[in-house]
């Protein structure tokens, strides 16, 4: 096995926290390596509802979380402006909701310093015409939305600018622990299968709900209690601000406008698994609850469902609903478990990713005797340095359309404006991708037609560039099966109709069912 000179810190996990931590440490002058077993922001970070919390959601029950959220909300708006849309948020009290909650909410927000203003019902309805007639009271708070892939990419880029190294599709497969210290790490390149041993001076795990598995490689027992939350993507924007139910937080009580779609969330099921299976029942529950706030949610088309795992830490090994476990983060120093130079960051939420990184980096620096202060709250990321403007709906579409040649473009995917050249360039740079990789990188097949047209076209371009002979239909089959996962729990209305049309095309007309 090849060996290479060591790093000050090996960071495990390329979500928002890991990327933020790597940036923070690199800015303090430490040599860092970040390893991520998949693509950046592929785990929990890429599977959340997009809400940049004002903290109002926590103001009644968890004052500490509320305080953290409002401070970080303001920081993220500043340092990552282009990835934030200033939607604002509404808390909607409906007839029949607990009478005392609005008062508690206002008091909690005021205590945490979260701007909250009661709106007249007429004003709330003017802002959000689709709100239910059951609306009794409404409160405006500074919620916003944040686009996680861009946020993580900017953190990663900044980390690299400060000297860090980042490796994607690389898995930590072994740790060498001697005399209570981690000395080296074995890394496997998941593309080539090659393994490499790197020397490390310190190990920081930001692996989210995989933190337990990372810890076990060091012989440390760390019990995670992943809290799975299911979200439903609706085919259009149903509101222009984040809509929250004004009652104690529970399942199915948020509606988040994200770009051209809306996300309804969420549920909370504690289950230690990599493949959480979403049921039609929980999807129906979310849609029905969402429709209590915005009745149109029940009539519009659901486009996809997905689930993300909250990386909750279970010190007491309890099971059941994880909403009772703390959402606040914790920095765990594994010196207590007999490994001197190993820290894990667990819990938390995307809104406070930067603070989590700061607390972890503070702990790492204290242990390494590094005396440098955190600067991530002051220094803007990427585009925010030049143009501290928030994202607005339509901006990206316009840019994409101009880039793609507008009406003259040679489009492979009309729904998401993906051109033939974009597909070709991606194949050039990737090797032999799955069509699903094109979906993540280019958004090919993500739109309303669910791949009806672009799947055959993409497979044809792929076959032309990377001939595979009789196996040329395999990418189509794999992609159709992959789409099926996000489709199956939302088989109603237009989505069911589109599914059947796609089946007529691929099973009946193109006869893929008896293909070689």
């Amino acid at each position: 096995m090849a060996s290479r000179p060591g790093y000050d810190v090996l960071v495990v996990g390329g979500g928002a926290t890991g990327a933020g931590l790597t940036r923070d440490l690199a800015m303090r002058g430490l040599r860092c390596l970040l390893v991520e077993q998949s693509d950046l922001a592929h785990g929990t970070t890429g599977h959340f509802h997009g809400l940049l919390h004002s903290g109002a959601r926590y103001a009644v029950r968890d004052a500490e979380a509320a305080d953290e959220c409002i401070v970080e909300n303001r920081i993220v708006r500043r340092i990552a402006a282009p990835h934030v849309e200033d939607t604002g948020g509404l808390f909607c009290w409906l007839e029949g909701d607990p009478d005392d909650y609005p008062g508690q909410l206002v008091a909690g927000c005021q205590k945490a310093g979260i701007e909250i203003e009661e709106l007249s019902v007429a004003e709330a309805r003017r802002r959000e015409p689709l709100l239910t007639p059951r609306l009794g009271r409404a409160f405006a708070v500074p919620d916003a939305t944040v686009e996680p892939w861009g946020l993580v990419a900017d953190n990663a880029e900044s980390a690299v600018d400060h000297g860090a190294s980042i490796r994607r599709y690389t898995r930590l497969v072994g740790l060498g622990v001697e005399a209570g210290r981690v000395l080296w790490a074995d890394l496997e390149d998941l593309g080539s299968g090659e393994r490499e041993r790197v020397e490390v001076n310190f190990l920081a795990s930001a692996a989210g709900y995989w933190a337990g598995r990372v810890a076990s490689l060091a012989g440390v027992k760390l019990q995670m209690a992943p809290g799975w939350g299911t979200m439903v993507v609706m085919n259009q924007r149903l509101s222009s601000s984040v809509v929250n139910r004004c009652r104690p937080p529970g399942d199915g009580d948020i509606l988040v406008p994200v770009g051209p779609v809306s996300i309804l969330g969420t549920t909370d099921t504690t289950m230690d698994t990599d493949n959480y299976e979403i049921t039609p029942e929980e999807v129906r529950f979310i849609v029905t609850e969402g429709a209590a706030m915005v009745p149109a949610a029940a009539e519009r088309r659901a486009l996809r469902v997905f689930a993300g795992a909250r990386p909750l830490y279970d010190p007491g090994h309890q099971h059941g609903a994880s909403r009772t476990l703390s959402r606040s983060h914790m920095v765990l120093d594994h010196a207590n478990d007999g490994v001197e130079n190993f820290i894990s960051i667990v819990g938390g939420k995307l809104t406070t990713y930067r603070l989590m990184a700061e607390h972890t980096a503070d702990a790492v620096c204290a242990k390494l005797g590094v005396d440098a202060r955190c600067r991530t709250a002051e220094e803007p990321l990427g585009e925010a340095r030049k143009a501290p403007r928030h994202y607005s709906l339509g901006e990206r579409l316009t840019a994409r359309e101009q880039e793609a040649g507008g009406a003259d473009a040679d489009l492979v995917c009309e729904c998401e404006l993906v051109t033939r050249d974009m597909v070709r360039e991606f194949i050039e740079s990737f090797g032999t991708p799955h069509i699903d990789d094109m979906l993540r990188a280019l958004r090919l097949g993500m739109g309303p037609c669910q791949g009806a047209f672009c799947t055959l076209r993409a497979a044809g371009i792929l076959e032309r560039m990377r001939p595979s002979g009789a196996a040329a239909l395999e990418p189509i089959r794999l992609f159709l099966d992959e789409r099926m996962k996000g489709d199956r729990p939302i088989m109603w209305g237009d989505q069911a109709r589109q599914f059947r049309l796609n089946e007529i095309i691929y099973r009946d007309v193109l006869a893929l069912d008896h293909a070689p």
Partner: protein, 423 residues
């Protein structure tokens, strides 16, 4: 509520193949016929062939005739079990009507024929235009893509076709070529635009010039199924004659040009026979006592109420909008609110885990149950309305995509429903 218009003898709801066949049956029987529908039928999404029965119980059938008795014996609510006797008449109605417009449909119930597709696969069908009836065994195929047309990927077809042939014991050689012509340099070139180009002899001349050098020893030139719209037979014959090869059309993504040719031929024949067609309006059937009293046609301004003598409901299945899945996973029939039968297997999950789930998805068997006279049945198993007959994709009991049976079911049940409606 008083009706707005003078009555028709027969009102057909749905403009897909089943509705068109029912319309032919009614109009040719002398009935004053109205055909009305929300949109065009699924002919425009399909191959332009008439599939009758390609597979049964996952077994490939040499002919529809070979499988039909098993269908009737094993699946009593299958449309062929109920209306199989009218299959021949329904097919003949379409064949004669298409033939009168110069569109031949060759084949018989005694043989399935393998038609190549834009995925390079070979699929069984019963009746097909001459351009889809190439003999693949021993063929040297030049697969021709057209620059700018995205929905026919020649390389993919040429890669898969030999393997698809080998699976059936056929020896097929294939290679790909892409033709680039100035006339193809336009934006968003669709199958329909291409078909109109193929109608022009000037375009064909340019295409022939470009193809001659690349023919090699090819015996078959495979093109996307866009070879002409109004002058399709002439366009294909012209190319074949000048190249000295067989020209094969391969069905591809919607819109389907061969399906459109068929639809245009049948709708023209219906108009000639005195039927009235109304496209683009949603229809509701309103019961009155034990019959359908009138249909309410949504139109700008106010809904039109047209009294119904007899009604044929041919509004299609899930893809067509004749059936709809509710949020709670149950199904509804959208025009007359008829009860929808759902197989037991679909009550857990409507669809399987894999897109190409072997044996199909449970929901595909769902639909309206009818008796032998095509009258929709209530939950207790007796006919609901004395003057309502149903046909085509909304009928329960068949998975058309798995069986490759969609068109034959439309022909058989459309014809039977029309016979009952004019009786």
């Amino acid at each position: 509520m008083p009706p707005d218009r003078a009555p028709y003898d027969v009102v057909v709801v749905g403009l897909g193949l089943a509705g068109l066949v029912a319309g032919l049956g009614a109009a040719s029987g002398g009935a004053r016929t109205l055909l009305v529908g929300k949109g065009h039928g699924t002919l425009r999404f399909r191959s332009g062939t008439i599939d009758v029965l390609g597979y049964w119980n996952d077994r490939s059938l040499g002919s529809p005739a070979e499988g039909l008795p098993a269908v009737a014996a094993e699946r009593p609510n299958h449309p062929y079990a109920l209306a199989g006797e009218d299959l021949g008449s329904g097919l003949e109605a379409i064949r004669t009507t298409a033939g009168a417009a110069g569109l031949d449909l060759d084949g018989s119930l005694e043989a399935n024929r393998m038609v190549a597709t834009a995925a390079g696969t070979l699929r069984p069908t019963c009746l097909a235009p001459p351009t889809m009836r190439a003999d693949w065994d021993g063929a040297h195929v030049l697969v021709v893509g057209l620059a700018g047309y995205r929905d026919f990927q020649a390389d993919l077809v040429a890669s898969v076709l030999p393997a698809a042939g080998a699976k059936l014991g056929l020896e097929v050689e294939a290679r790909a070529a892409t033709v680039d012509l100035p006339s193809l340099h336009r934006h968003h070139l669709s199958g329909l635009e291409l078909a109109r180009l193929f109608d022009q002899s000037a375009f064909r001349r340019d295409l022939l010039a470009a193809l001659r050098g690349t023919l090699g020893g090819a015996t078959v030139v495979a093109l996307p199924a866009v070879v002409g719209l109004e002058h399709a037979p002439e366009a294909a014959a012209d190319l074949a004659r000048q190249l000295g090869v067989t020209v094969a059309e391969l069905p591809t993504l919607p819109p389907s040009v061969p399906g459109l040719r068929l639809e245009l031929a049948v709708t023209a024949a219906l108009r000639r026979a005195g039927a009235r067609l109304q496209v683009g309006t949603f229809v509701r059937a309103i019961p009155q006592g034990g019959r359908i009293g009138w249909v309410e046609i949504q139109s700008p301004g106010h809904p039109l109420r047209v009294p119904v003598g007899r009604m044929v409901l041919a509004s299609g299945g899930l893809a067509s909008g004749g059936l709809e899945v509710r949020l709670d996973g149950t199904l509804r029939e959208t025009v007359a609110e008829l009860p929808v039968w759902l197989p037991e297997a679909a009550q857990g999950a409507l669809v399987g885990r894999s897109f190409l789930e072997s044996g199909g998805h449970p929901v595909s068997l769902a639909g309206v149950q009818v008796d032998g006279a095509m009258r929709p049945l209530g939950r207790e198993g007796s006919p609901l309305y004395e003057n309502l007959f149903a046909a085509g994709g909304l009928l329960a009991g068949a998975d058309r995509a798995v069986e490759k049976s969609a068109d034959g079911i439309c022909c058989a049940t459309g014809w039977r429903a029309a016979q009952e409606a004019v009786a």
